[in-house]
Symmetry: C2
Subunit: 702 residues, 2 copies
C-alpha cells in the first residue's frame, strides 16, 4: 500500500532496443506478429529477433541467443514456454535490459503451480531491477516510437491518425476492442498496454506513468478488479493533478459478474458501490457502457471538458427537445430558462416556435437556416449555458447542407468558442466526420449526445476540485488500544474535535445522584463495561430518568446487567443529559479490504439500511466533500422535515465526518472500524451518542 510505482516503466513503454525471444518467421504466430508490427510501425530503435534456428527472421538478422546481441538492451519480449521464460529474463538482465514483456501464459491464472512460477519470475525481475509487464499479457504499443511488443490483432489493418489517448486494459482482448472502436471514430490511441496477470506493472502503475507522459492527454482503462486500492486511487489523483481525465469501464458490478471476474483475473472485484464512490471522489469517470466510454473519450480528445453544467437545447422538433431535457436531468445537467425578452424576440420572428429552453425553432428552419443561427446566438448570448445540444434529425444528411449548417454554427459561435456544441443527427459517416473535425460532438441518438455532454461537464468539475493529498491528518489522535468503552472512545474522538454530551462515568449510586442533580435535567444512564458491546440488549441503558430517581434506577440497572452477564467487568455508570431533538446520522470509519480507510454516512434506522442509502469515500476528506456526502443521501430531507424544531446543523455533522475521516487516515494500521451510532444532529451542533471502536491489529484484540 505504497502508491503506484512508475520508476522504470519507460523501459517497458519506451525502450530504444528490444529483443524478442521466441521470434517467429511466421508473421501470424505469437512470436512473429510483433516483428511484423514493429516493421509496420517503423520502430526507430534496435530490434533483435532471438531464435537459435534461423539466421534471419522476416528480413531482420536473427540471433541464436540473447547473449549474442552485439549491444546493450532496454527491453526483452518473451514469447516462449514458461520453462524458458525465466532464463530469458535473466539473460536479458545480464545484457542490461530493465524492461520485460511476458506474453507467456500458464502462470497465476493456471492454478497453484503457476502462482509459484509467477512468484519466481517477479522475484528475479525485482532482483535485477527490471519492470515486468504480464505475464499472460497481450503486450504494449507506443505509437510515438513504433514500439509494438504486442500480438494483438488490433494492430493489423488500416490505421487512423494518432490521438493522445492511452488505453490500459487488464483484459488485452477488451482493450483491443476499445482500440478498434476508437479507430472507427478516426482515433488511433498513442499508447496501449495490457497488464495481464499484473505480476508487477498494474493498472495503477500504468495510469500514474501516463499521468506524466506528454503523449497522453486522456486515459481509457478497462478493469475487472484492482490489486492495490490505495495505489489505484493515488494514480487517479496523479492523473487528475496532471489535468488528464481517466475514463473507466469497470466490470464485475453484479454478483454473477464479480464471481466471473474473480475466477478470471484473481484481482479483487471489491464492493462495487465503494469502488464507484471512491473513483468518483478521485475524479475518475466511470462509463456505464463501452459505447459511452468511446463517446466520452472521443469528445475529450476532440473538444475537452465543459466548464459547467448549464445546457441549452436547440431542436427542430418539440418531442426531441423533451427527450433531451429528460436525459439532461438524469445526468445532472440543468436547463436555465431563457430571459423573457429574448424569448419574445425569437417568437416574433418565428411565431410557431417555443423558446424557453428547450428552444424549438421548428421545421421552419428547413426553409430559413438563419433561424438556427439566431436561436443559437441568442442562447449563447442570453441563455447562460456552458454547452448546447441540438437535434437536427436528418436534414444535414447531404454534404452541402452539412457545410451550410457548419458555417451558420461557426458564425453564431464567434466570441463563444469556449462553449461546446453537440448535435443529434443521422447522416453518412463522411458528413459526420466533418463536424467531428471541428470539435462538434455528433451522435444519432439524442440521449447519447446529452450523456456525453454530462460526462464532459462532470469531468470539467472533477478536474477543478482541490487536491486530496493536501488534506493534513497528521494532527489526528492515534489509537492506543485502550478505546474499548463508549466513554473512552468518545474521549478519543473528542481529541479530533467531535462533540459528546457533558457526561460522566461514576461508580456509586450516590455519585449518580450527584451528577444527575448537577445536570438538573432528565438523564440517560448507561452501564460502562469493556465486555459488553450492545448495552441496551442486556438492559444496560435507561433513558429519560428524572434526577431524583437516578440513584435507585442506576442501582437496579447494574444489578440486572450483572445478573445477565455475570462475567463482565462493570466499570461504572455513565450519566448524561438526555440529548433532546435532532436528526440521527450513522457515521463509520472502516478499513475497506481493497481501498483501506473509508468513511461512510447514512441516516439512522432499519429502513435506510434496507434501502442502502449510504455514502462512501476514501479517507481523508475535507468538509466540502463531507457535506456533499450528506447532501447526496436520498434520505437527506429527513434532516429538515421530521422534527418540529429548527433545522439540524448539517454543517456540524459534515465537520464531524471530515474529522472522523482524518482519524481513519491516521489510524489505518490499527483500526478495524469506528462507529458513531448515532451522531445526533441538533439545531446548533452534532453530538456522538454511542461510539464503538474495534481494532484490526491482532495484538490489540480483546
Amino acid at each position: 500500500m505504497s502508491g503506484p510505482r512508475v520508476e522504470g516503466i519507460d523501459a517497458v513503454l519506451s525502450p530504444r532496443s528490444v529483443a524478442i525471444v521466441g521470434a517467429s518467421a511466421d508473421p501470424a504466430r505469437i512470436g512473429g506478429r510483433p516483428i511484423r508490427y514493429y516493421k509496420q510501425a517503423g520502430f526507430a530503435g534496435a530490434l533483435y529477433p532471438i531464435n537459435p534456428n534461423r539466421a534471419e527472421i522476416q528480413g531482420l538478422k536473427a540471433y541464436p541467443s540473447l547473449a549474442d546481441i552485439p549491444d546493450g538492451l532496454d527491453c526483452v519480449v518473451v514469447a516462449v514456454p514458461p520453462e524458458l521464460a525465466l532464463p530469458a529474463l535473466e539473460q536479458a538482465a545480464a545484457k542490461g535490459a530493465r524492461g520485460a514483456v511476458i506474453f507467456t501464459a500458464n502462470y497465476a491464472e493456471a492454478g497453484p503451480e503457476g502462482v509459484l512460477r509467477q512468484q519466481e519470475l517477479v522475484a528475479s525481475a525485482r532482483a535485477k531491477g527490471m519492470r515486468l509487464l504480464g505475464p499472460n499479457c497481450l503486450g504494449v504499443y507506443n505509437a510515438a516510437s513504433g514500439h509494438a511488443a504486442n500480438f494483438g490483432s488490433f494492430l493489423e489493418g488500416e490505421r487512423a491518425p494518432d490521438a493522445p489517448i492511452g488505453i490500459i486494459g487488464q483484459s488485452g482482448a477488451y482493450a483491443s476492442y476499445i482500440h478498434v472502436l476508437l479507430r472507427k471514430r478516426g482515433l488511433d490511441a498513442a499508447r496501449w498496454l495490457a497488464t495481464g496477470n499484473e505480476a508487477d506493472i498494474t493498472v495503477a502503475d500504468a495510469i500514474a506513468h501516463m499521468a506524466d507522459d506528454d503523449g497522453v492527454k486522456v486515459i481509457a482503462a478497462f478493469l475487472e478488479g484492482v490489486r492495490d486500492g490505495p495505489a489505484f486511487l493515488d494514480a487517479l489523483e496523479m492523473a487528475r493533478a496532471a489535468g488528464k481525465p481517466v475514463v473507466l469501464l469497470k466490470v464485475g458490478r453484479s454478483e454473477t459478474g464479480a464471481d466471473a471476474a474473480r475466477s478470471h483475473t484473481g484481482a479483487m472485484a471489491g464492493d462495487d458501490q465503494v469502488f464507484d464512490a471512491v473513483v468518483r471522489q478521485m475524479g475518475g469517470y466511470r462509463a456505464r457502457t463501452t459505447e459511452e466510454l468511446i463517446d466520452v473519450v472521443e469528445a475529450l480528445i476532440r473538444r475537452g471538458p465543459v466548464a459547467g453544467n448549464r445546457l441549452g437545447v436547440l431542436t427542430i422538433s418539440g418531442g426531441a427537445g423533451v427527450l433531451m431535457a429528460d436525459a439532461a436531468e438524469a445526468v445532472g445537467l440543468e436547463l436555465p430558462y431563457m430571459p423573457e425578452a429574448t424569448q419574445a424576440r425569437l417568437k416574433a420572428e418565428n411565431p410557431l416556435g417555443s423558446f424557453s429552453n428547450p428552444v424549438d425553432f421548428t421545421a421552419q428552419a428547413m426553409n430559413d437556416l438563419s433561424l438556427v443561427g439566431r436561436a443559437l446566438r441568442a442562447i449563447l448570448e442570453d441563455g447562460d449555458v456552458d454547452a448546447v445540444a441540438g437535434f437536427f434529425m436528418t436534414w444535414i444528411a447531404s454534404p452541402v447542407m452539412g457545410e451550410r449548417l457548419q458555417a451558420v454554427i461557426a458564425e453564431a459561435m464567434q466570441g463563444y468558442e469556449d462553449r461546446t456544441i453537440a448535435l443529434a443527427v443521422s447522416a453518412p459517416d463522411e458528413v459526420l466526420a466533418a463536424y467531428r473535425a471541428k470539435g462538434i460532438i455528433v451522435n444519432a441518438d439524442p440521449s447519447r449526445v446529452v450523456v456525453t455532454l454530462g460526462a464532459l461537464a462532470w469531468i470539467g468539475h472533477a478536474l477543478k476540485k482541490p487536491k486530496r493529498s493536501a488534506i493534513d491528518f497528521s494532527a489526528a489522535p492515534r489509537l492506543t488500544g485502550e478505546e474499548r468503552s463508549d466513554a473512552t472512545a468518545k474521549a478519543f474522538l473528542a481529541q479530533a474535535g467531535l462533540k459528546a454530551l457533558p457526561e460522566e462515568v461514576v461508580r456509586t449510586p450516590e455519585e449518580v445522584a450527584d451528577v444527575a442533580a448537577r445536570l438538573g435535567v432528565p438523564v440517560a444512564l448507561k452501564v460502562v463495561s469493556p465486555d459488553i458491546v450492545r448495552k441496551s440488549e442486556v438492559g444496560g441503558v435507561l433513558l429519560h430518568v428524572a434526577p431524583e430517581a437516578a440513584a435507585a434506577r442506576a442501582r437496579a440497572m447494574v444489578a440486572a446487567v450483572a445478573a445477565a452477564r455475570p462475567r463482565a467487568e462493570i466499570e461504572g455508570v455513565l450519566v448524561a443529559p438526555m440529548a433532546g431533538w435532532g436528526g440521527e446520522l450513522v457515521m463509520t470509519a472502516q478499513m475497506d479490504e481493497l481501498f483501506g480507510p473509508v468513511v461512510t454516512v447514512g441516516l439512522g434506522g432499519p429502513f435506510v439500511e434496507l434501502h442502502q442509502d449510504v455514502a462512501f469515500r476514501a479517507a481523508p476528506i475535507d468538509e466540502t466533500e463531507a457535506l456533499a456526502m450528506i447532501d447526496g443521501l436520498r434520505g437527506r430531507p429527513l434532516l429538515d422535515r421530521l422534527f418540529d424544531r429548527p433545522f439540524a446543523d448539517v454543517e456540524a455533522a459534515a465537520k464531524a465526518l471530515a474529522a472522523l475521516s482524518r482519524v481513519a487516515a491516521a489510524n489505518a494500521e490499527h483500526m478495524e472500524a469506528i462507529e458513531i451510532h448515532p451522531l445526533l444532529v441538533r439545531a446548533s451542533d452534532a453530538v456522538m451518542l454511542d461510539v464503538l471502536i474495534t481494532y484490526h491489529d491482532p495484538q490489540w484484540h480483546i
Copy 2:
C-alpha cells in the same frame, strides 16, 4: 373514457381514393410532396389533386374543386390554410369521404382561437361520420397500398424492404427520425402515422387499429403525453391480446421535460412513475433511449420474443463475459451454471478456458473455430438457456470469417432453432447484414446486445400473461356516500372480502367495559366521528388498554376529544382487540387524473414515503399481479425480517389488494380515494386497522 375508437380509421389508413386539397405542382412544397410520394409508392387507388388554377399537377389530371371529382371519395388530404380547411372537409364529406388528413397548422397548438377552430373542425367531422388525423400533423403512410398522404422528408431517398412495423408518433418529426433509423437497419415500416394535435385519432386509436391490421406485427410509438389514459391502456391490451409487442419511447420523464412536453402538445404528461407502471402492467415495453427502441424493434422483427430469461454467455474474452453478466443482471436475465460434467468436458479440450457461464473459450477459438461450435452446442444442450449472447470482438470482420462462423453457429443450433443468438461484434455493415438476415442479433456494444435480449425476454413474458379484461369486478360493493367513518368504511370493504378486527362501536362506558371484558385481551379504543379525519391528532385513539380500565379511559378520551373539537359529532367509541404482531402495508385505491382507478401499495412509515417505494397498477388486478406488486417493493424484506413471529401472510395481503382493486374499478365514478393505513399483515391473515374513504362526486362531499 370509453376505450379506443377504431371504427372508420381504415378510411384514413387504407383509402382507395384520395383527394389532395391544396395540391401543388412543386414537389418540394407541402401540397406537392404527397403527390410525389404517391407516385413513387405506386398508389393503386385514385388520386385527385385539387387546385383551381391548374389542369394538371405533376403529370396527374387536376380538379378545380372537390365537387368536380367524377367518382366517390374515401379520404381527403387538406393542405390549405385554416379558413379553407373546414369547407374542404365538408365538400369531401359530401363526396362520400369518411377520412381526413389535416396537414394544416394553427389550431389548438396556437392558442385559444386555434382551439375553437379545432373544435369546429372536429364537430363537423363527427357530424359527417368522418375520422380525422391531425390537424397539425405530418400525415400517414401505408406501404401496402402506396397511400402516402404525408409531407415528411423520410419518404425521400432509397427505400429498404418493407417490414411489418407500425410507427405511431405524436411528434411527426421524431416518428420520421425513427423511420430513418430503422431504414438504416434495412427495415422500412409498413405503416406510419403522426397524430399531431390528436383532435380525433389518438395514439390509442392508432395502436388499437394496428392491433387488428395484419400488415403490422410490431408497433413502435413515440409519445409526449396521453390524452385518454384508460383508452390508451385498453389499446395496449388489445395489441397484447393480438400478440403484437408495443415498444414505446415516452418522453417527459423529468420535470423540465414534462413542462416542455405540456407546452408543446397540450397532452397530459401525467405522473411518469404511474405511466411507467401501468404501461408495464399492460405489457407495453418502454425503451429508455431511441437506440434501444430501434434495437428492440429490429430484433422483434428479425427474431421475435425470447421464451424465458435464462441467458448463456459465450466469449472470447473473460472481461467481456463479466461485462455481459453485469448487463444481464441489470435487465433481469439469469445466467444458469453449466453442469460440472459439461464444464469438465469442455475444459479437457480447452484447458485455459472457463466454462461455468460465462463460457470463455478464449482466443484459442481463433485457431480452432470448432471450439466455438462445441461450446455453443454444450450450452444449448446442457446449459438450460433460452438465449445466448456471444462476444466475438472483431474477428468476423471479414466476410470469409463471417461465413465460416455463421456455418458453425448454424450447425451447433440444429434442433435448437427456438433459441435466440445475439453477438457483440464490430464488423463492416455488409458482414453484419448477413447475420441479421439469419435472425442473429448483432451490435458493437456488448451491453446493448444484452439489453436487447432482456427486452425480448420481458416481452415474451408479457405476451403470455392472462388477459386483464377477464377480471370480473361486477360483484364488488358499490359506494353509497355513507362510508364516512372508519367503521362504515371497514364494513364496506368487508363486503369485498377484506378483513377487519372483531370490533364494536358502542355508546356508553358500560358497553365499552362489556365488549372489552368479552374480548378478554388488551384493547384499542377509538372515537367514532364522521367529522374527525385523523383521530389520533385529537387524542381520539388509545392503545393497549386493559379490559378493566376500558370504561374509565373511554370516558376520559371522549371528554378530551369533545373539548378539542366541540363541534364534531361523536357517534360512539370503537372497541377492538389489540392487533398484535405483523408487518404494515399502506394500500390505496385512487383516481389517477390520467389513467382512472389505480391501486398503490407501499410499506408503512415515513422513510418509505421518502424513498418512493410504492408500486402502482391500473385497477382491477388479479392476485398474481398484486403479489408481484408487493414482492417488487424494495422494502419487501421488512415483511420477513423485522418481526420475531412467523412470516407475515403476504398472500393474504395480495388478496386484500386485489379485492381493493376490484372495488376501485367498480366505483371509479364516485371514489376519490380509499386508504387502508395500515393493513396489518399478520402470521395468518391481514387486517385493516384504519380506513379512510373520500369521494370524487361533488354531491357526496361533506
